[in-house]
């Protein structure tokens, strides 16, 4: 039973390695996520954000523009996750349990 876990771990590492060596190498400028247009002919999101962030919001920091403007609904959901995490901690640790 214990050996089975290690076999699963080694097999999982092997799966990860076979997937990883098929990726484009680190720092490759011509990899698909860094191109201007993808295979279907539409603009790639990262390149679009680099070129249009300052024009749209007059803010030099592109990460702030994406976080607050283009993907602000994502940020809203994330803020609500943070708030719910705090409320969950409050209720997990303050629940009054009736003694049997």
């Amino acid at each position: 039973m214990k050996a089975l876990r290690y076999i699963v771990l080694v097999a999982f590492f092997g799966v990860l390695m076979t997937a990883v060596v098929k990726l484009p190498p680190r720092g490759d400028v011509s990899s698909p996520v860094h191109r201007r247009t993808n295979a279907a002919g539409t603009p790639v999101a990262g390149t679009y954000y680099i070129q249009n962030a300052y024009k749209d919001a007059k803010t030099p920091n592109m990460v702030t523009v994406i976080l607050g403007d283009y993907r602000s609904l994502d940020t809203l959901g994330e803020t609500i996750v943070v708030l719910i995490g705090g409320i969950a901690c409050f209720y997990i640790l303050n629940v009054r349990r009736r003694k049997p």
Partner: protein, 159 residues
């Protein structure tokens, strides 16, 4: 091992020593001296997020670290003056509500949810309206992250 140790359910505090100020003079003086500067750096990182790496999340975490350093050195009882325990979760809810209010004000002006160039601030071009919309949203994110992290520390300590 069958007999459980006695445990009082009302006594939720894990370690009594975390309630009182630390005995070490060096830790006490250093933490009290350095905490205002950490808060200042947090405000700088937050307000300079439009022009340099930074923004709501990073500034919020730095502000929370400033409060938590006071919590660790002064003890929970004394640092209640700086940041009361009953304030934290309510303030983080106010941050999330500010975010939603910015989005809904754009809806009321006739646009989509979180469509910043319709915000009701007169006399600004649409690009600069988006600039201030991002700033308002980041205020809400910072308030939520700061007070939630302080609240989680308080709840984990149980004091």
């Amino acid at each position: 091992m069958s007999e459980f140790p006695e445990h009082d359910p009302k006594d939720h505090c894990l370690d009594e020593s975390l309630k009182e100020p630390t005995d070490s003079l060096i830790v006490h003086a250093t933490a009290r001296g350095i905490a205002p500067f950490i808060l200042l750096i947090g405000l700088y990182v937050f307000f300079h997020g439009h022009y340099s790496p930074g923004g709501g999340f990073q500034g919020g975490v730095l502000l929370a670290v400033g409060f938590l350093l006071l919590r660790l050195s002064l003890g929970v009882r004394l640092s209640q003056i700086v940041m009361p325990h009953r304030l934290t979760l309510r303030a983080s809810a106010i941050g999330a509500l500010l975010f939603v209010a910015v989005g809904l004000s754009a809806v009321i002006m006739g646009g989509n949810f979180l469509d910043y160039h319709l915000l009701p601030i007169p006399g600004l071009a649409p690009e600069y309206l988006r600039y201030f919309g991002i700033l308002l949203v980041e205020v809400g994110v910072t308030v939520t992250v700061t007070f939630t992290l302080v609240a989680i520390y308080d709840e984990l300590l149980g004091c």
